[in-house]
């Protein structure tokens, strides 16, 4: 499958990444290379197989509905680039 420049830019937008003009050709080439290789999954003998879903065979892992308060609330905000009134500050959102 051929990846177009427009597709790459669309994907970057979905990922909230901005590609500089000089990066675009490089990424396009890399992505094409890797996808050409990755395409081998479409040649694998897997017609009869189901997808693996889930990281392993664990199931029904539940937590009890009991409150445990995090012990160090202040530490949760200590890394905030900008905060106000104990909240994370960002430019105005309508």
């Amino acid at each position: 499958m051929k990846v177009t420049r427009e597709e790459l830019l669309h994907i970057a937008k979905l990922a909230d990444l901005k590609l500089e003009e000089e990066e675009i050709d490089k990424y396009l080439l890399n992505l094409q290379d890797i996808l050409n290789f990755a395409n081998i999954v479409n040649k694998a003998p897997v017609e009869e197989l189901k997808e693996t879903i889930g990281s392993n065979d664990n199931y029904n892992v539940f937590r009890k509905d009991e409150i445990v308060e995090f012990e160090d609330e202040e530490a949760l905000l200590q890394n905030a680039p900008e905060k106000e009134q104990n909240m994370f500050k960002i430019p105005k959102v309508i």
Partner: protein, 478 residues
């Protein structure tokens, strides 16, 4: 063409916050409000390395909701990630369910002026709520509070089965009452714990295909929802009538102007890149688990309604209205237990109590007194301590002061006069002052009796026993 030539098609996606003690994927409290970012931990704040663990009650509550709405419960379910960037979504993905929801293919039966009808449910799935954006003091920026992030939600997706504003309104009320009955959500719309995304389209009557739909997100009052649907129907008809086309888009309902506005650029179509959540494992429910929940499901409004008609001889309409709210219905049952006069309790709730709530724009769960207080009021009428008329004043006072009826009556000196001597005195006084009325009465004008009783009531500030007044006037004028 006119409005009647179009058929309206409405579907609702209802989000209900579940009333669990803790969040869906961490042990933080779900309690509403609180100082910002204090009901948080590394998990719901999406700190690097933190991992979700599913709250067992969330699964149980969702299954309850599924069973109460006639859904099939999936024995094999999973969670998925829905990816998008927004500051109230700290992980930049919402853990939700995509292709294997917990419940599928249910229905809710509604009753409107057109009769009974089943509204299909496509699915019910579990997911997490987002945080909240507040505005800062000077309006220059927004502030992110993540106390609500990770509060459990069920999303109940209906089929596009509703054909009128009334149906949508009744469906939503019915759904709300079911969720209240099974006690999985407090459904406080003003706190946002019940919200709906409304899909509306129109088509020419007789047309098979659906028209293009628009969606209004996050509506949280019945009034807004009905107004918004009305507006949107009119708008769509106007567009089509003028030869235009409806765009499939998300709209924002503005309560103040009473209009909908386009929210997003159309080119900015979302691609949520759903995929199975690798941090969580499969949910495999056994038949025993599901049966056990089914067995312990509380009585639903439908069955209570039947019971009220049967047991308390309420009319179908009365029973339906009382059971429309779980709080009201519970209130009614408690009241009946004490007073043993179901008709009276029902009448008070559906007439005066309902009227006052309506005037104050309040919900039944905001009634400021207890069922035993209403039972007391009914008993005071039954034993002749007060008249029905005075009782209405007492009720007003109960709303105002939250005092017990007996105390209100005592404080205001509203005890009914049933003493024969005292009443005789009043009757004589009124007759002396109105000789013409006596003549009129004797000439067969029954109205005169009413006038005299009215005068006597006025004289006693409404406290005289009206039945006794009636009898004594008649006796005196024989």
């Amino acid at each position: 063409m006119a409005r009647e030539d179009y058929e309206v098609v409405i579907g609702l996606e209802v989000h209900a916050e579940l009333s669990t003690k803790t969040k869906i994927f961490c042990s933080c409290p779900t309690e509403f409000g609180g100082k910002p970012n204090t009901h948080c931990c590394p998990v719901c704040m999406a700190m690097p390395g933190a991992l979700p663990v599913l709250n067992e009650k969330v699964v149980e509550y969702a299954v309850k909701a599924g069973l109460a709405t006639n859904c099939e419960i999936s024995m094999d379910s999973k969670n998925d990630r829905k990816n998008y960037f927004y500051p109230d979504l700290p992980k930049s993905y919402q853990i939700s369910q995509f292709d294997k929801p917990l419940c599928e293919r249910g229905y809710v039966e509604i009753e409107t002026s057109e009769g009974k009808k089943k509204i299909g449910l496509t699915r019910i799935h579990i997911e997490e709520d987002a945080g909240k954006l507040n505005h800062d003091e000077y309006g220059r920026g927004s502030l992110v509070d993540l106390n609500r992030a990770g509060v459990p939600l069920i999303e109940i997706v209906s089929e596009p089965d509703m054909r009128s504003v009334e149906e949508a309104d009744v469906y939503l009320k019915k759904l709300k009452s079911i969720l209240e009955y099974i006690e999985v959500s407090d459904c406080k719309m003003q706190e946002g714990s019940l919200r709906a995304d409304v899909n509306v389209s129109i088509r020419k009557k007789g047309q098979k295909e659906y028209g293009t739909r628009t969606e209004m997100k996050n509506m949280n009052s019945f009034r807004s929802i009905t107004r918004a649907i009305e507006y949107e129907i009119e708008r769509q008809i106007e567009v089509v009538e003028n030869g235009g086309k409806i765009d499939q888009e998300t709209l924002r309902w503005d309560e103040v102007s009473g209009k909908t506005f386009s929210m997003r650029d159309k080119e900015d179509a979302q691609d949520y890149r759903y995929f199975p959540e690798p941090d969580l494992v499969a949910i495999k429910l056994s038949k025993e688990y599901i049966d056990n929940i089914r067995k312990n499901l509380p009585e639903l409004p439908e069955s209570r309604k039947e019971r009220y008609i049967e047991e308390y001889k309420l009319t179908e309409k009365e029973a339906r209205m009382i059971t429309s709210s779980k709080y009201l219905s519970d209130f009614f049952e408690k009241g009946v237990e004490i007073s043993n006069n179901p008709k009276a309790i029902c009448n008070w709730l559906l007439s005066d109590v309902a009227r006052i709530l309506n005037e104050q724009e309040k919900e039944p769960d905001e009634i400021p007194f207890m069922p035993e207080d209403l039972a007391e009021l009914v008993a005071l009428i039954e034993n002749g301590t007060i008249s029905t008329k005075i009782a209405k004043d007492v009720l007003e006072k109960m709303f105002e002061t939250k005092e017990k009826p007996n105390k209100i009556i005592k404080d205001n000196g509203w005890v009914q006069i049933s003493d024969e001597g005292a009443i005789k005195e009043v009757v004589q006084k009124i007759l002396d002052a109105n000789p013409q009325s006596i003549i009129d009465y004797k000439n067969g004008k029954d109205k005169a009796l009413g006038f005299l009783v009215g005068q006597a009531m006025k004289e006693t500030k409404g406290k005289a026993n009206p039945q006794m007044l009636n009898n004594m006037f008649k006796e005196a004028m024989k």
